[in-house]
Symmetry: C2
Subunit: 417 residues, 2 copies
């Protein structure tokens, strides 16, 4: 069962918008068992749209078309669908009335141009759009079921979920299952090397790797005689992958790294304080994206100046003078200082040279020191030299700091490796 996607709009062909709809729909159709073999994007040109609709209808079982359902003269999708299928148009007055009421709900009068959003090819099924004004519609042509949706992602996704997925879910036989495993601390080639041989051992398995810097996501994609078989095999392979990759695995598809760190802190009832220099607030920003982070984050001191390190954290000026702000001694003093000021259970510090300026022969750009202080335990420091530019040094440093916290809380034992 093959499927194809058609996106319509000059804003896409001119590159003013990135086409995220195509990726979203492809993933949904793939999950339903369809083989999506083609996406096409066309500008607002009636003849070109008609040509592609006809070609797709001859070739594919399911075709999803997005965009061009708006009220303006550029919006040609409905006319093109009718022309491709050699159908007339009819106006659904109840749809026009619904659009009129949506405008009135916002205290506005519907412009007459919007009435054309109530036009459909004869015989089309109207697909209601709870999130916007223009409904979608469905027609049959050639070998194909064609679905037409607005281009606004939120509206498109809701109509797909409510009206299309149920209508086509039974058409393709799904024989695959996918599991995603998220890791931090290994390179993509390191992960691939560690899993070398796994595909040979499992004929239905395809391993995929997606890098969301600095995370590597491993995708276990299994094809088998049925969806249930594929799921069982994928779970067995997931176990193997988790064993091989060990501590680098932090969660599954929907787990964000800071959320996992927050969960560990909350579960263990530990209160965290942070002292950041070169990361400038990134650790705090990551942690507080999660609701409820006030349960475990007490204080994050972004101590960009030496004076702030001294005054706020009580770092001895002699340490900064003798060893510099980017040193094991400074990292330790910062972590201990913020632990004390915030009365926290655990504290992490970051001080480094994110670049592009500020590097020396001794401490080149990318040199970052980390400190980890815990109540009643010795403070530990470590450092890394990173070969990247400013943004990546900041991102990786924030991850490393959070990873130190996660492993310390999880292990309550020597975390340094």
């Amino acid at each position: 069962m093959t499927a194809a996607l058609l996106s319509i709009g000059t804003e896409l062909t001119r590159g003013e918008l990135v086409n995220t709809n195509a990726a979203w729909l492809s993933e949904e159709l793939t999950k339903l068992g369809f083989e999506v073999v083609e996406h096409t994007t066309i500008d607002d040109d009636l003849e070109r749209i008609v040509t592609v609709i006809r070609r797709f209808a001859e070739t594919h079982q399911v075709v999803v078309v997005t965009g061009g359902l708006g009220p303006t003269s550029d919006d040609l999708t409905t006319a093109a669908a009718a022309k491709a299928a050699e159908l007339g148009l009819f106006r659904d007055e109840s749809v026009v009335e619904g659009i009129r009421r949506k405008f009135e709900a916002f205290g506005r009068v519907m412009p007459e141009s919007n009435a054309k959003q109530g036009d459909f090819p004869e015989g089309a099924d109207v697909l209601s759009n709870p999130a916007g004004t223009a409904p979608g519609f469905a027609i049959r042509l050639g070998r194909s079921r064609l679905f037409f949706l607005p281009g606004v992602p939120r509206e498109m996704q809701q109509i797909f979920a409510e009206s299309i997925r149920p209508a086509i879910a039974g058409l393709a036989e799904r024989r695959t299952h996918q599991i995603h495993i998220r890791t931090f601390g290994m390179t993509e080639s390191g992960v691939a090397q560690a899993l070398d041989g796994l595909e040979e051992a499992h004929p239905g398995l395809t391993l995929g790797y997606r890098a969301h810097f600095p995370e590597i996501e491993v995708k276990v994609h299994v094809r088998s005689s049925s969806a249930a078989e594929a799921e069982l095999e994928a779970q067995a392979i997931e176990e193997k992958v988790r064993v091989v990759l060990g501590d680098a695995v932090f969660g599954g598809r929907d787990d964000s790294f800071p959320a996992i760190v927050g969960k560990v802190l909350r579960d263990q009832g530990r209160k965290l304080a942070v002292a950041e220099s070169c990361t400038g607030g990134r650790v705090g920003e990551m942690l507080t994206r999660e609701p409820g982070s006030s349960d475990y984050l007490l204080f994050d001191a972004v101590v960009y100046s030496n004076r702030a390190k001294e005054v706020v954290l009580g770092v001895n000026p002699e340490i900064l003078r003798v060893h510099g702000a980017v040193s094991s001694e400074a990292a330790a003093a910062m972590a201990e200082g913020v632990l004390r000021v915030a009365s926290a259970d655990i504290a992490v510090s970051i001080t480094g040279i994110a670049g592009p300026g500020g590097g020396t022969d001794d401490k080149p750009v990318g040199t970052v020191w980390f400190g980890l202080a815990q109540r009643g335990k010795p403070t530990i420091t470590r450092h890394q030299k990173m070969p990247w530019g400013r943004d990546r040094v900041q991102t990786v440093s924030a991850y490393v700091a959070l990873e130190l916290v996660r492993r310390a809380v999880l292990a309550e034992q020597d975390w340094a490796r």
Copy 2:
């Protein structure tokens, strides 16, 4: 002059990757004066790739193909190009040797599979790839010049800039000019309403709006009798737009909001301190994305707990008890406290309820107080009630705080509006 794009890869047709290459290339080709009328994405299937290449070569003057140049058996683009053009393949040993040396530079041995990245259709021009292993290539077929590039965005962009743009820049006559204007503080419909009538007054003008929440970018696109004419007219219109939108305009296409705020601080020699509660470090994170932010950012206190507000910033516990942490009084005390602790010239504070929990009837989710303290001037506070979810409340709050700083430094006068 029409152009078309072909992207190759099952990772795209399965929706595992969003196709950002198509938007990037479309924008580049549009700027060069081409009318980009079609993007197509195809899975790794030789026959389908050949079919599309032939169809495009009959129709368009310029075709850019990305992806499928890797070393694995899935990478079929070179073979498809040769088949579409009915050409044989030749191996360029100097290219293979170059790839071998790149591997050796990383201390690795080139796998033999990579040798196929030295294969090209007979007569092709090889396009060198300074950023990766696989070179691109160019051939002519039908009415068309076809360019084949790797799918890795960084490599693709560099080859396009170095080898393709110069080769095709003269083919299309460019008669347009675009200017981008970035704003904060108005809604998209507010901006559109303010600019109502401008398109009618300038027949060659198309206004576009792109929302990068919470910014609105206005795009002035002018078509005229020549590129020079279009540029002159676009500049005149830009002036009008800047006057109409006033303070909401903060910069042009390549200006980031925090960079503009940093520039204002640096130009005026002012040192900033920040106290953040509900934004959790986002202000610091935004400011320190810019290199050199240590010139103006002294300290950012992410005071998530009441204790941190008291101990670090010296906020009187009575204020928190009587008025609560989300109050004008707390915002003022936080700003004054961090100004004093950091010995800064100007300080801004944020305290609010980002949600989803923590709201009350009196102070619902989305209530945020801001304080602005300056050495030798009265402290000012303001508040906003925001109708969004956590992430948007945090983002807008960080923007509002930075905007308070920008306007205070720029105006040195009553900034409250």
